[in-house]
Amino acid sequence: MFLNEFLIFAALLFCIGVYGVLVRKNGVMVLMSIELILNSVNINLVAFSTYNGDVGGQVFALFIIAVAAAEVGVGLAIVLLMYRNRRSIDIAEANLLKG
């Protein structure tokens, strides 16, 4: 198996995630797209871990999974707070700080 297969697969998922983050207006959907991006990074780490025969990459993939859990917890708390204050989770409307 070529190492490239996995790297290009991860790059494809990453770019789809970037598209989602840029295009979506719904706060929860943006969080989902961020999960996609974090997963693509994990694929790279695990692929290089297998390529080098070193477990370190897998350890860092586990760390990233834990960070993703923390990120989605705090992110959803922020989205819920925004919904409670503005009755909307449209991130294009979150412009209170706009000059």
Binding site: M1, F2, L3, E5, F6, L7, I8, F9, A11, L12, L13, F14, C15, I16, G17, V18, Y19, L22, V23, R24, K25, N26, G27, V28, M29, L31, M32, S33, E35, N39, N42, V46, A47, S49, T50, G53, V55, G56, Q58, V59, A61, L62, F63, I65, A66, V67, A68, A69, A70, E71, V72, G73, L76, A77, I78, V79, Y83, R84, D90, A92
Partner: protein, 178 residues
């Protein structure tokens, strides 16, 4: 000699099977990811994300990272998906189609994504054009992963514990109704 040849043929067949399996899994993941960022229904998007995350777990199995795959299934499919679905339900009672989920300038987003993909693919092909994975890699033992976590990577591990605690407290403080 014959046994060696047979063994080699078997291992190349196995690699071929794993390779074909990978292309199926990757295809499913990419299609589901595209559907996820284009669908107009928030709950459907969450379910497509489920398909992507499962496919990524299958990719980990192909790469021999079984513990990471199991963790992916437990944490992502078990916990994070439930959290996201709760987020959908708590912020919007409407479960049907939505007409207003995308920005108007979506082609700018598509352009950025395409250019990023072109740059990444070019650099990856340039650097690892014909690099192959070792043909005889086997599944990593969980024991090996845990030994590494609790010896070499003990400091990041402890920092991560504190991060999780801080995120937990932070989420409660932010979302508390007072």
């Amino acid at each position: 000699m014959i046994a060696l040849l047979a063994n080699e043929a078997l291992s190349s067949v196995e690699t071929g099977v794993a390779n074909g399996f990978f292309f199926v899994v990757a295809g499913v993941a990419v299609i589901a990811a595209l559907k996820m960022v284009t669908t107009q229904n928030v709950v459907h998007a969450a379910l497509y994300l489920l398909v992507v995350l499962t496919s990524v777990a299958a990719t980990y199995v192909i790469l021999g990272a079984e513990f990471v795959a199991v963790t992916q299934v437990m944490v992502y499919l078990g916990a994070i998906m439930v959290l996201l679905l709760f987020g959908v339900m708590l912020t919007r009672a409407k479960l049907g189609d939505d007409t207003d989920l995308d920005h108007d300038q979506r082609w700018i987003g598509a352009l950025v994504a395409l250019v990023t993909f072109a740059v990444m693919t070019y650099s990856v092909v340039e650097e690892f054009g014909s690099t192959k994975l070792p043909s005889d890699f086997s599944a990593t033992a969980t024991e090996e992963v845990s030994n590494q976590i609790f010896s070499t990577y003990i400091v990041p591990f402890e920092a991560l514990s504190v991060l999780l605690l801080a995120a937990l407290i932070g989420a409660i403080v932010v979302a508390r109704r007072d």
